[in-house]
């Protein structure tokens, strides 16, 4: 796998880092020769030079492997957010630098990367990973390294208490809250008998385990549960398991073959399809007007944030889309066929802004302040909608390390996704399952 290291922001002129080890060596020699008292002023000068160094954020990017489409857009959004933060003066007067490395959408590699961020590339914190198996595999290492790990993953594994005090998810909502907000819409508007199709790993299980009780609470029933491996390339063979009396198909799929999945779903049903409710994950980075997807007209999608520019979008949403380089259809402004992962990638923008707010609240100066940073983030509660939170107003739960925010339902109309329903953050809350703040650092 190719390791990608990128530097971002206005760091070239002020980057003294390569010279530091030799300087430190020289100082040590000097200290040995002339005695500690004589060298004190030099040490002091060195310490102040270090604090002018950029804040380094280790970014685990899914550049290759099954998460590559997400990785590409997570990178673009992160670069845009860092450019904006640096343009506004950085964090505590210091510039921010992203240290980007490819994790190959691979848990083992992601855990190695955390080690590299902490011990080799001199990073202050780690950030970024999406796929749930990668986060679950890497997060324990962050705990051992005592390295703040800001994930943008959407899985319920943070709020479920599976991870540790060093791992937080302040920029994207989790599946459990999303599903809680979707279930009433599905049972009220579409039908009571639901068949779920979901990827056969952690993220899919979050959907399976949380949708079933949510649907039953609304008087509905989950009549079929079909798990498909995320590396699968052909899907028709799974569809006969869909029970005949299904009224609503609930689909969420990930991986490189999502277009094939949706296309074969359409080919299977032909003209007599049930109602279809999908998580946009099934079509992230895929053009909704691709050949074979015509049957999606009139179906519904959950979106973390609308892909298409909505007519009533506030100015800060437009500013966010411009900064990232999104056109009105949610594709890249430089290549209309390069469709974004709009429903997830806003989480990168918001997480980096939470990191900024947390570091400023903690008076973050050096790696010694890592614990103070986590405590400062845990103390956060309300996050009003605005330039730092373009997806909408959020509530952060410091005990569960999880943020809650609005959820959007869009309908495919005329080959576009139009927003038809918004669930507020309050509708997505559920009782705490863990209190990380009582755990040791």
């Amino acid at each position: 796998m190719s390791d990608v290291t990128k530097k971002t922001g206005l760091v070239a002129a002020s980057d003294h880092r390569p010279a530091a080890p030799t300087r430190r060596q020289a100082l040590k020699t000097l200290a040995a020769g002339a005695g500690a008292a004589a060298t004190m002023p030099l040490w002091a000068r060195y310490a102040s030079a270090q604090s002018a160094e950029p804040i380094r954020i280790g970014f685990g990017k899914h550049a290759t492997g099954i998460g590559a489409a997400y990785g590409r857009w997570y990178d673009r959004v992160s670069q845009a957010a860092v450019a904006k933060i640096n343009g506004d003066g950085g964090i505590n007067g210091r510039m921010v630098e992203l240290v980007t490395e490819d994790d190959g959408t691979d848990p083992r590699r992601a855990a190695e990367l955390l080690e590299k961020f902490a011990n080799q590339s001199n990073c202050d914190i780690a950030y970024g990973t999406l796929f749930s198996h990668v986060v679950i595999g890497a997060a324990p290492r962050a705990g051992e390294l005592k390295l703040p790990y800001f994930v943008v993953s959407e899985g319920h594994h943070v709020a479920s208490g599976m991870l540790n005090r060093w791992t937080v998810q302040p920029g994207i909502t989790d599946v459990k809250s999303q599903v809680a907000a979707m279930a009433p819409f599905i049972t009220d508007m579409l039908g009571k008998k639901v068949t779920m199709i979901f990827p056969d790993y952690g993220f899919g299980y979050d959907h399976r385990d949380n949708l079933t009780p949510a649907i039953e609470a609304m008087g509905g029933e989950v009549v079929g549960k079909i798990a498909i491996p995320p590396t699968e390339t052909s899907f028709t063979k799974y569809f006969p398991q869909i029970p005949r009396d299904t009224e609503v198909i609930y689909h969420v799929m990930v991986g490189p073959a999502v277009l094939t999945f949706v296309k074969e779903l359409g080919e299977f049903f032909g003209p007599s399809r049930p109602e279809i409710f999908g998580f946009i994950d099934s079509l992230e980075a895929v053009d909704i007007n691709s050949p074979g997807l015509e049957f999606l007209e009139g179906t519904y999608f959950w979106e973390g944030m609308p892909r298409y520019l909505q007519p009533d979008a506030p100015d800060y949403v437009k500013a966010y889309r411009d900064a990232v380089g999104l056109d009105a259809n949610g594709a890249s402004t430089s290549d209309p066929s390069d469709v974004s992962t709009a429903a997830h990638m806003f989480g990168c923008w918001e997480t980096l802004h939470v990191i900024k707010a947390g570091m400023e609240a903690a008076g973050y100066q050096s790696k010694d302040d890592r614990q103070a940073l986590i405590e400062a983030v845990e103390a956060m509660t309300e996050m009003p909608a605005g330039p730092a939170h373009p997806q909408g107003a959020k509530i952060f739960n410091g005990k569960t390390h999880q943020v809650f925010g609005p959820q959007y339902i869009s309908k495919v109309e005329g080959g576009k996704l139009s927003l038809v329903h918004t669930a507020s953050a309050e509708e997505t809350l559920y009782p705490d399952e863990v209190d990380y703040t009582t755990m040791d650092f």
Binding site: S2, P229, S234, T236, K237, Y238, P256, P291
Partner: protein, 308 residues
């Protein structure tokens, strides 16, 4: 879904897999039969075929049919030439030593895969099928008036999937006829039986090897072009395909074209049926188990000849 229509759907899905597998495994079998080289990079030639199909169709920008026909011609040709070049620059220098060629083709696998990643990228990209209409399939049932036809829910295929099956049958029949009746086929078979004797009779064995290696890769690429409108081109798609091809070739008997085709149908159909009725993982488990049993009880494969 009822049992009958369910089974038919499973068979159709299995037949598409069997068709692609038969083409791809024929290439692997041909290379092993003639050259005694186990080509671990075979799956990457399949992937290159799919990627080349994407490149040709997106660059040409003609109609869907013209694009696809061009891809069908250009992609196998380009991949075949690349493989022939690899044979002349790498395998020939290793003197076709069985162990060293395995290591060399493993290296080739990674080189091709990573070069594709660096140029084509990590995304799965679609190729538009030349034609693709849904065909609802009828099923018979005993009604009040005796036998009658009806269209069960979900029982359908697409015209393109049927085309893949037909194309594979035509191509494999052509390959058989070519090997059995053409002069080039005769030379290949002669080289396969006894390379030294063939050299003594004036057969340019090294050139035959380059052509065979290229042709084997071209068959894999052809399979890649045929599957890409169904599955999309992705840089990691060669892995599973390689595994299945090896399973097919081992069960059928290394170097036996008939055995390869029979085993491809067996594995493809059983994979389709077991995946539909049970789970795809079970299908893979059973296929691997069959390989183990074949290796224990009939190491030369179902149709392979014993070593003389």
């Amino acid at each position: 879904m009822e049992f009958g229509p369910y089974l038919l759907l499973a068979c159709l899905e299995g037949a598409v897999l069997a068709a692609v597998l038969a083409l791809m495994a024929s290439g692997l079998s041909l290379v092993f039969g003639v050259m005694r080289v186990v080509n671990v990079a075979h799956g990457e030639f399949y992937m290159l075929g799919a990627v080349a199909a994407w490149a040709v169709t997106s660059m040409l920008g003609a109609g869907a049919v013209a694009n696809f026909v061009a891809a069908l011609v250009i992609a196998p040709l380009a991949v075949g030439l690349l493989a022939a070049a690899a044979d002349m620059t790498i395998l020939k220098r290793l003197e076709y030593d069985p162990e060293r060629t395995i290591v060399a083709t493993i290296g080739l696998l990674y080189v091709i895969q990573q070069l594709t990643l660096m140029t084509y990228g990590a995304d799965a990209r679609p190729v538009v099928a030349p034609f693709n209409s849904r065909i609802a399939l009828p099923w018979v049932e005993w009604g009040e008036n005796g036998l009658s036809l009806y269209y069960p829910w979900g029982l359908s295929t697409t015209s393109y999937k049927l085309f893949v099956i037909v194309a594979a049958v035509v191509l494999i029949t052509g390959l058989r006829l070519f090997m059995a009746h053409s002069r080039a086929g005769l030379i290949m078979r002669a080289t396969q039986l006894d390379g030294e004797m063939a050299t003594a009779f004036g057969v340019p064995v090294e050139r035959v090897y380059a052509i065979v290696f290229g042709a084997g890769a071209a068959l894999a690429a052809l399979a890649g072009v045929l599957i890409v409108p169904i599955q999309q081109a992705h840089y990691l798609m060669g892995g599973d395909a390689l595994l299945l091809s090896f399973i097919v070739v081992i069960i059928g008997g290394l170097g036996s074209l008939t055995g390869t085709v029979v085993a491809a149908i067996l594995i493809g159909m059983s994979d389709g049926i077991i995946s539909v009725f049970f789970s795809p993982t079970l299908a893979k488990i059973i296929a691997t188990l069959v390989v183990a049993l074949v290796l224990v009880f009939r190491p030369q494969g179902l149709f392979g000849a014993k070593d003389r």
